[in-house]
């Protein structure tokens, strides 16, 4: 249910035009002041004004680009999610989306909401949130490398969500949209996880075994507890030995059942 994570009107876009206009007016005013000072007291008198203006522009530009409070809040939201305090993480993310973030941050927050949905086993909402994150990334101006890094993770998570919802063709198509080039290292493991789920849901046990043999180290070293448990369930399924539900850690049991019910008995 998407409304749990994102309501209409939650996402505000930055007021770029207004900000540009205000900065432009202020800069013109400062330059005019410098010109008047130079005309009245000689050229050297205007020098401090110009130097202050130059430094102020750099400081403001860096500060606006970095948004320290936003980064801290994003880390705080991620921390709450990883501590499994999902409602707190959702609340921080929704507050952040109301601040009019730059597209790269907006996409990251949408992805984080998608991760919250995944953690709660709401894969349909995760897929929808990943679609929005992907749209934000593709529609905005940003560095090619930055975009590729984020897109690889978004695509891998979105493909997993589609696979968990049973939309296997869509999952495979999604995995093909993001190249491995420039993807963050985790993206490879997440893609492999999604592909394993697609193969298992199609009943291709032999291919699941081959994939596990090829990516075993990657999955072992990169994935966290919940995903490692799923991978071991998929491995057992590939060997035609379904795992007894009671042998799975109780905290992830409902999640495993939601993602791949065929893997447990």
């Amino acid at each position: 249910m998407l409304e749990r994570y994102l309501k209409p009107g939650d996402v505000k876009t930055p007021r770029t035009v207004l900000t540009f206009f205000v900065v432009w007016v202020l800069a013109c005013a400062a330059l005019l002041a410098a010109w008047f000072i130079a005309a009245a007291y000689g050229p050297f008198a205007a020098l401090p004004v110009l130097i202050v203006l130059f430094v102020a522009v750099i400081v403001v530009r860096v500060r606006v680009a970095v948004r320290p409070g936003v980064l801290r809040d994003m880390q705080a939201a991620q921390l709450e999610r990883l501590r499994e305090h999902v409602p707190e993480a959702i609340a921080i993310c929704r507050r952040l989306l109301g601040l009019g973030l730059q597209p790269i941050y907006r996409a990251q927050v949408l992805l984080m909401l998608g991760e919250c949905a995944e953690m709660e086993g709401d894969f349909a909402a995760e897929a929808e949130l990943c679609v929005r994150a992907e749209g934000t990334l593709r529609g905005a101006r940003m560095g090619a490398m930055l975009r590729a890094q984020q897109l690889a993770v978004v695509a891998a998570r979105r493909a997993f969500a589609h696979a968990a919802c049973g939309e296997l063709d869509r999952a495979e198509a999604t995995l093909r949209t993001a190249g491995a080039k420039d993807g963050v290292p985790l993206a490879g493991a997440l893609s492999s996880r999604a592909m394993l789920l697609v193969l298992a849901r199609r009943g291709l046990r032999e291919q699941v075994r081959e994939r596990l043999a090829a990516d075993g180290k990657l999955l072992r070293n990169a994935l966290a507890f919940r995903d490692r448990t799923l991978v071991s369930v998929l491995g057992a399924y590939a060997m035609s030995r379904p795992v007894a539900l009671t042998s799975i850690d109780a905290s992830v049991r409902p999640w495993i059942q939601a993602a791949f019910p065929e893997g447990t008995s």
């Binding site: 130059f54 970095v66 980064l71 880390q75 290292p185 070293n221």
Partner: protein, 282 residues
């Protein structure tokens, strides 16, 4: 700074590769001095000096673009090396990290790669090298900077250094001190810091403290840490409960066996041999 770098260069992980030192004067002259120098020229004698002033402004922009491109290239090599590291190809990963630390890529990328080399050394239980590399990472990223965002690399390096100091030496106070030097905001750094606190407590035989620390961050640790470290934390917890005689803060609480594969077992054995008793084979 030079001592820390020299110590890191002597480790087998760098094998005498010279680490690129950050030069603040070079950075300043590349980015700011041309632009600032252009201003007085245009004011003093704009009629004759404007071409030079324009050239300086163009140079300043070119410097900015160059620095950005080199940082991107360094990030790309670093990410590829981390991917190799995750796949277990430590030789290729360390070669790529060496390329970054010896090149002109910006101090944050160099600091990150030194930290990652430290992680490789830690994974191989080469603790003296890991200590030297984490210290070099902190030295590489130190110094004045225009920064309002949290320094994640420094957070990770402080937490990792504290952990290795606790595991590989008796310098427990120094290890605890490392955790106070930087405010931890990154989830991974907070998990590394909890791992370090648990190791300090385990090595000091403060068993209830081990359980306190690991209980407080249990969800975070299992959602963040790679398998070897997750197994180590579970083994520390189980070992501490076992030594407490099945009772924790007056209430009964039994220790649980921890499932570990060969790699995780050798990791635990190398860092806290007494905790290996808590492990069972996968």
């Amino acid at each position: 700074m030079n001592d820390a770098m020299a110590a890191a260069e002597r480790t087998p992980w760098l094998a005498s590769t010279r680490v690129r030192r950050y030069n603040p004067l070079l950075a300043l002259s590349l980015l700011f001095i041309p632009a600032i120098a252009a201003l007085p020229m245009t004011i003093v004698d704009s009629e004759h000096l404007w071409p030079i002033a324009m050239l300086l402004v163009v140079l300043a922009f070119a410097g900015l673009v160059l620095v950005g491109r080199r940082a991107m290239r360094g990030t790309r090599i670093n990410n590829d090396a981390v991917a190799l590291m995750i796949r277990g190809d430590d030789v290729a990963a360390s070669a790529a990290f060496k390329e970054v630390v010896s090149g002109f890529f910006g101090r944050d990328i160099v600091a990150m790669s030194l930290h990652n080399l430290g992680v490789l050394a830690l994974r191989s239980i080469d603790l003296p090298s890991a200590i030297a590399l984490f210290r070099a990472s902190l030295a590489a990223g130190a110094g004045f900077r225009f920064r309002w965002q949290p320094n994640v690399v420094a957070q990770l390096s402080h937490a990792s250094l504290a952990f290795v100091l606790a595991a590989g030496s008796e310098a427990f106070d120094e290890a605890a001190g490392e955790l106070e030097k930087e405010e931890m905001t990154s989830p991974l750094a907070i998990a590394f810091a909890a791992r370090a606190r648990a190791m300090i407590a385990a090595r000091r035989a403060e068993l209830e403290r081990v359980v306190d620390v690991l209980d407080a961050e249990r969800a975070l640790l299992r959602n963040v840490l790679p398998l070897n470290d997750a197994v180590l934390c579970e083994a520390m917890l189980s070992h501490a409960l076992s030594r407490l005689g099945g009772s924790y803060r007056g209430a009964p609480r039994a220790s649980q066996p921890v499932v570990a594969d060969d790699s995780a077992r050798s990791y635990v054995r190398g860092l806290l041999p007494e905790a290996e008793a808590a492990l069972v084979s996968a």
